[in-house]
């Protein structure tokens, strides 16, 4: 029995490592969120932009990217739209 347990123990999953990995990812993410300080209106702005573009070209939701970057004394609103091939 002792011999079996000895080998079984070696195979047991190391959950502490898993905890560390999860925490590192989570905390990096939360810090990024905080430093980005995206304005609250961003999702709504994005939706409305998509609607306007769709009047002319059909784009998928995922083709429109809205991003705010914080500079030292200025913020940049970045708008990235990927047009479908057929629109050209």
């Amino acid at each position: 029995m002792g011999l079996f347990n000895f080998f079984k123990k070696e195979k047991k999953k190391n959950t502490a490592n898993l905890a560390k990995e999860r925490l590192q990812i989570l905390i990096a993410h939360e810090h990024a969120d905080k430093s980005k300080k995206s304005p609250d209106y961003l999702p709504k702005l994005r939706d409305e932009i998509v609607q306007v573009i769709r009047k002319y070209v059909h784009v998928a939701d995922s083709d429109v990217n809205v991003n705010v970057e914080n500079g030292d004394d200025y913020d940049v609103l970045e708008l990235n739209i990927t047009l479908p091939e057929s629109a050209k």
């Binding site: 560390k20 925490l23 905390i27 939360e30």
Partner: protein, 268 residues
Amino acid sequence: MSKVIVVTSGKGGVGKTTSSAAFAAGLAAKGHKTAVIDFDVGLRNLDLIMGVERRVVYDFVNVINGEATLKQALIKDKRVDNLYILPASQTRDKDALSKEGVESVINELKKEFEFIVCDSPAGIEKGAFMALYFADEAIIVTNPEVSSVRDSDRILGILQSRSKAAEDGKTVKEHLLITRYSPDRVEGGDMLGMDDIVEILSVPLIGVIPESGSVLQASNSGNPVIMDKDSEAGQAYQDVVARFLGEEVPLRFIDVEPKKGFFQKLFG
């Protein structure tokens, strides 16, 4: 120059009050005049952990509202010279703590005390915010467990952005205190190790308190665990106090005690 030290964590039940009581008692025992304030308005417990629950007449909120003087509200500890306790109110809510009120009490304490230890409530609401706002230094109490580590990170963020020191362009000196540590479980891969926690939070370590039955025994009897000089937890808290005062003390109780030999393990 007196110092204001907040004992905080974000998460509840990790050992803030136990650590505040032990830390304050340890500082006082080393000859430093120390006051410890319970900021958990509505759910006071520091008085119970310190064994002075039957001596509470006036509290922190009474002093803020001018219903009692600070002298009337401070409870002098009967075991340790230089140690005074300012209990929280049991009947009001956390909104009773105004920034101006807390500031005036802390300023008055600064005239007489070398160290002012602020025992923070759990959470990130008003009581916790008030406890950390005036701090010069902070002890972040963390358990080796994911939710506690995450909440500690949140509290660190608040210390760095919303404390008075941060507003004045200064920094709060941070210390990490890991409690309820089990070297056996760390070695078995079931518990986050101290190095991992330090790496994740990047705050210098001031001590590691081992999981110990003596902590519960101490709270049962209303004695700060640091007074239990035979217990590992008590000794680990004494090391914390010594390190805080600038002594170099190696960490203890962080490794698995040797038990079974190889053959015993194999055939046992």
